[in-house]
C-alpha cells in the first residue's frame, strides 16, 4: 500500500526535476555561448526610450526600473477604470435582463450576446482603428459640454488645478473615518436601544460638508484649466492646457468595459435569479418596505452569489488589459516586455518579471476577495 502512494509522487517529482533541469541546463549553455549574464543589473541602467503616456515623471534618461513602474501604473490605471465602469454597466444590464419590459429585456440580451461572442482583440482594433479614426481633426472638433473636445488625437477635457491638494485629501480620509465610526455607533444604538438614524443621508452629508469646509478654512482652492486650440504648423493643430486622454486609453477602456460588462451582467442576473421568490414574499409579509426588502434581504444574498464569479471577471479584465500592446497603449507588456526587451535582449529576466507581476496582481486580488467572501458568507450554526 505504501509503495502505491510513494511511486506516483516520486515519478511526478522526477518528471518535474528532469524538465526543469533540462531547461536550466540549456538556458545556461545558450547564455554562455551568446555571452549573456543572467541578472537584474540592467534595471538600473538608462532606458533611453520615451513613453507616450505616463502618470509619473518619466523621460529617456531614467532607468529601466522607472520605465517598468510607468508601464505598471498604466496597466493599473486602465484596469481600475475598466473595473469600475464595467461593474456599473454590468449591474444595469444584468437588472435590465430581468425587466418585465419585453423591449428592455431583449435589448439587454442582444447586447450581451453580441459583445461577448466577438474576440476582445477584434473589439479593441475596431474601436481604435475604425471608430475613433472617424473622429474629427483637432481644428474641426465640436465643443462637448461647453468644455471638452473629442478629436482623432484623443479627448481633451478641463484639468483641475488644486491649491493645497493634500489638505483636501486629508479631509476626505477624515470624512471616511468619521462615517465609519458614525455607522458603528448607529448600529450599536439600533441594536441596544432601537433608535434608528437616517444613516445614509447623514453619511452623505459628512462626506460632502467636511471636504467643503476645507475650501473655506483650509485654504484649498480649485480652478480649471481649459484646453485651447493651438496651431503648431500650417495644417497641424493641437490643444494646450487641460487634460489630454490618448485615444489608445479610450479605445482600450471602451473595449474592456463593453466586453467584461457582458459577463458581469450575466453574473448579476444569475445572482438575483438565484434567490427564491419565497424570500421576497417572506420579507414583505413581515412588513418590510420594498426598499428594505431590496436592501436587507435580496442584495445581501444576491451578492454572495454574484461576487465570486465577478472577481474572476476583474482578474480577467486586468489580464486582458495586456492586449493594450496591440494598439500601442504603453502598458506593462508594451513598455517592458516589448521595448525594454528589444533594447536589452534579456528575454528570460524580462518575461519572468512581467509574468511575476501579473501573477502577484492576480493572487493579491484573489486573496482579498477570498477574505471578503468569507466575511459575507452565511455563518451556519
Amino acid at each position: 500500500m505504501k509503495f502505491k502512494k510513494i511511486l506516483p509522487q516520486f515519478l511526478t517529482l522526477l518528471f518535474i526535476v528532469l524538465i526543469f533541469g533540462f531547461f536550466t541546463m540549456n538556458a545556461q549553455e545558450n547564455m554562455d555561448t551568446r555571452g549573456i549574464e543572467f541578472g537584474f543589473g540592467f534595471l538600473t541602467k538608462e532606458a533611453s526610450f520615451d513613453i507616450q503616456f505616463s502618470l509619473i515623471d518619466y523621460d529617456g534618461s531614467m532607468s529601466y526600473a522607472r520605465a517598468y513602474l510607468v508601464g505598471l501604473l498604466n496597466t493599473l490605471l486602465v484596469s481600475f477604470i475598466g473595473i469600475i465602469l464595467s461593474t456599473l454597466l454590468g449591474a444595469v444590464i444584468g437588472v435590465a435582463r430581468l425587466s418585465p419590459n419585453y423591449l428592455i429585456d431583449k435589448t439587454a440580451s442582444f447586447y450581451v450576446e453580441f459583445f461577448r461572442n466577438v474576440p476582445l482583440l477584434l473589439q479593441i482594433f475596431f474601436w481604435y482603428f475604425a471608430a475613433l479614426r472617424a473622429l474629427p481633426m483637432p481644428e474641426d472638433a465640436p465643443l462637448i459640454f461647453g468644455s471638452s473636445f473629442m478629436t482623432i488625437k484623443g479627448l481633451y477635457t478641463p484639468a483641475p488645478i488644486w491649491n493645497n491638494f493634500d489638505i483636501f485629501m486629508i479631509s476626505l480620509v477624515v470624512a471616511m473615518f468619521v462615517i465609519y465610526f458614525f455607522n458603528k455607533f448607529a448600529k450599536k444604538k439600533q441594536e441596544e436601544e432601537g433608535i434608528q438614524y437616517p444613516k445614509f443621508i447623514i453619511s452623505l452629508g459628512i462626506f460632502i460638508i467636511l471636504p467643503l469646509l476645507t475650501f473655506i478654512i483650509g485654504g484649498v482652492d480649485l480652478s480649471w484649466s481649459f484646453p485651447e486650440l493651438k496651431q503648431l504648423a500650417k495644417t497641424s493643430f493641437t490643444y494646450e492646457g487641460g487634460m489630454g486622454i490618448p485615444p489608445e486609453l479610450i479605445a482600450l477602456t471602451l473595449a474592456l468595459t463593453l466586453y467584461t460588462a457582458t459577463f458581469i451582467a450575466e453574473n448579476v442576473r444569475a445572482g438575483i435569479q438565484g434567490i427564491g421568490k419565497g424570500q421576497k414574499e417572506a420579507a414583505a409579509s413581515i412588513g418590510l418596505t420594498p426598499n428594505q426588502v431590496l436592501k436587507l434581504v435580496i442584495l445581501p444574498q444576491a451578492l454572495r452569489i454574484i461576487i465570486p464569479p465577478t472577481t474572476n471577471q476583474y482578474l480577467n479584465l486586468t489580464k486582458n488589459s495586456s492586449l493594450a500592446a496591440a494598439i500601442a497603449y504603453p502598458d506593462l507588456v508594451l513598455v517592458f516586455a516589448g521595448t525594454a526587451m528589444m533594447q536589452t535582449g534579456r528575454a528570460i529576466e524580462i518575461v519572468g518579471i512581467t509574468m511575476a507581476t501579473y501573477l502577484t496582481i492576480s493572487l493579491a486580488i484573489s486573496v482579498f476577495m477570498n477574505w471578503y467572501n468569507k466575511r459575507i458568507a452565511i455563518q451556519e450554526k
Binding site: K5, P8, Q9, F10, T12, L13, I16, F22, F23, N26, A27, E29, N30, M31, T33, P100, N101, Y102, L103, I104, T107, E113, F114, N117, V118, P119, L120, L121, L122, Q123, F125, F126, F129, A130, A131, R133, A134, K319, N320, S322, L323, A325, A326, V333, A337, M341, A347, I348, V351, G352, T354, M355, Y358, L359, S362, L363
Partner: protein, 423 residues
C-alpha cells in the same frame, strides 16, 4: 360618450382612445424621425429644451391613452402587459424604440443601401456606405492567409475530410458505440494531424511544401483552436484529478501549475513561447512557430479546463466514491467509470465557455507573427491600394467570429439539456 376621462382611459371609449393613442404615438415617432434624419423640427415654435423632448412627450401621451386593461384585443393586451405597464415603463420602452430607430437606420444604410457590392477596385466604392468589394477582393487572403492560391484546395480538402470524420461518429453502428471515445480522443487527432502534416504542409507525394509562416486567415484560426481544444481537454482532466489527489507532491504540483497559468495573461505566455522558449532548448533545435503557439495555448487553456472540471468533481456527493470503492474499484476504474462521466456531464456549460474563450483568444497569435483572420485584416488595412477600409474588415471578422461563437454556445446549451439527468 359617457364620462370621458383623459387621465384614466377606460374601456367605454375604447375606439376613441385607440385612435388618439396611436395618433399621438405616431406623431412622436414621426417628430423624432424628422428631427434626426431630415433636420426638420416641426415643433420649432416651442422653446429648445421642450422641443427636444417632444417625441418622448407625444409618445408617452399616446401610450397612456392605449393603456386600457382587458380590452379583449389580444395584441393590445399583450402590448400593455409587456411594454406599457405604467408611465415609467412606457418611457423606458419609448427610449428603447427611439434608440433602435436611431441606430438601425444608419446601420442599414451603411450595410446595404449605400454599400458597394460590385466592382474590383477601390474606385468602385463611392457611395459612402460599406465597401464590400474590399472583402471580396481580399476574401482568399482572409480565409487562407498567404497560402498560395493554386494550392488552396488542399486546405479545403483537409477541412472537409476532418468535418466528415467528426460527423461520421454520429452514424456509428450501435455495437461499436463503445469505441466512440477512443475514436474521438485518439484516432481523430492523429488522422487530423497526419492530414495537416501531409496535405496542408505538403512536401511529399508530389505536393509543394508550404511553410507554416504562410498559413493564415480563418483556416489558421480553425487549426490552432482545433488542436488546442483536443489537447487541452485530457491535460486539464489530469490536472483536475491531480489537484484533488491525496498525494501531496501530485496535489501541490498540479495546484501550482494551474495557478501559474491562470495568473498570467495569454499574451505574455505567447511572448514566452516566442522569445524565451528557444533559450530553454539545446542550441540548434528549432521548433516550428505554429507548434510552439499550439503548445502555449494548450497549456494555458488546460489550466482553465482543469478548474472547470474540478468544479464538477466537487459537486458529486461523497456517496458516489464510497459506493464505487465498496464494489472494489481501484482509483482509475473508479474515476473513469463512475466519477468522470457524471462530473463531465455537470460541467458542459463551463467547458463550452472555456472552448469559446479559446477560440476568441486565437487572434492573439499575431504576437509571434502568425496572421490569422484579425492579423490578416491588420495587414490588408496597411496595403496602400486599399487604405481606409478598416471598418468593413473588422465588421466582417466580427460577424464571422460571432457566428462561430454564438452557434457554439447555443450548441452547448442543447447538449446540456440532452445530457441532463435527474439525480
Amino acid at each position: 360618450m359617457s364620462n370621458l376621462n383623459f387621465l384614466k382611459p377606460n374601456k367605454d371609449n375604447l375606439n376613441l382612445f385607440l385612435v388618439l393613442g396611436t395618433l399621438f404615438f405616431a406623431l412622436g415617432i414621426i417628430d423624432f424621425c424628422l428631427n434626426n434624419f431630415y433636420e426638420k423640427n416641426i415643433t420649432n415654435f416651442l422653446p429648445g429644451y421642450i422641443s427636444f423632448f417632444t417625441p418622448l412627450i407625444f409618445s408617452m401621451i399616446g401610450l397612456h391613452f392605449i393603456r386600457i386593461e382587458f380590452t379583449g384585443i389580444k395584441f393590445l393586451d399583450e402590448l400593455n402587459k409587456n411594454i406599457n405597464t405604467n408611465n415609467f415603463n412606457a418611457s423606458l420602452s419609448i427610449c428603447i424604440i427611439i434608440l433602435i430607430i436611431f441606430s438601425v437606420a444608419p446601420l442599414l444604410n451603411w450595410f446595404v443601401l449605400d454599400a458597394t457590392f460590385i466592382g474590383d477596385n477601390k474606385e468602385a466604392c463611392t457611395d459612402g456606405g460599406a465597401c464590400w468589394v474590399y472583402i471580396k477582393t481580399w476574401f482568399n487572403r482572409f480565409m487562407y492567409g498567404m497560402y498560395p492560391n493554386a494550392e488552396q484546395w488542399r486546405v479545403n480538402a483537409t477541412f472537409i475530410i476532418v468535418l466528415g470524420l467528426i460527423g461520421a461518429g454520429y452514424f456509428f453502428p450501435l455495437n461499436y458505440k463503445k469505441y466512440l471515445t477512443f475514436y474521438y480522443v485518439i484516432f481523430l487527432p492523429i488522422i487530423s494531424f497526419l492530414l495537416i502534416y501531409y496535405l496542408i504542409s505538403g512536401g511529399e507525394f508530389g505536393l509543394e511544401w508550404v511553410e507554416t509562416g504562410a498559413w493564415g486567415g480563418l483556416s489558421l484560426t480553425f487549426i490552432v483552436s482545433f488542436f488546442s481544444l483536443i489537447f487541452c481537454f485530457p491535460i486539464g482532466m489530469m490536472l483536475a484529478l491531480g489537484r484533488r489527489s491525496d498525494l501531496a507532491v501530485v496535489k501541490y504540483s498540479s495546484l501550482s501549475f494551474i495557478e501559474f497559468w491562470r495568473g498570467v495573461p495569454l499574451i505574455t505566455v505567447l511572448f514566452m513561447s516566442a522569445v524565451m522558449f528557444p533559450m530553454f532548448l539545446p542550441d540548434g533545435t528549432y521548433v516550428d512557430k505554429l507548434i510552439r503557439v499550439i503548445v502555449a495555448i494548450t497549456l494555458f487553456e488546460a489550466a482553465y479546463t482543469a478548474e472547470v472540471i474540478r468544479g464538477g468533481l466537487q459537486a458529486l456527493p461523497r456517496g458516489q466514491y464510497d459506493a464505487a470503492k465498496s464494489l472494489g474499484m481501484g482509483y482509475w476504474r473508479l474515476h473513469l467509470l463512475v466519477i468522470l462521466p457524471q462530473a463531465l456531464k455537470l460541467v458542459i456549460p463551463g467547458i463550452a465557455n472555456t472552448f469559446l474563450a479559446l477560440v476568441k483568444d486565437t487572434p492573439l497569435i499575431f504576437v509571434v507573427g502568425l496572421l490569422e483572420l484579425v492579423g490578416m485584416l491588420n495587414l490588408a488595412k496597411t496595403n496602400p491600394k486599399w487604405l481606409g477600409f478598416s471598418m468593413e474588415g473588422y465588421v466582417f471578422a466580427g460577424i464571422i467570429f460571432w457566428i462561430i461563437c454564438y452557434s457554439m454556445s447555443k450548441y452547448s446549451q442543447k447538449l446540456e439539456l440532452k445530457f441532463k439527468t435527474d439525480r
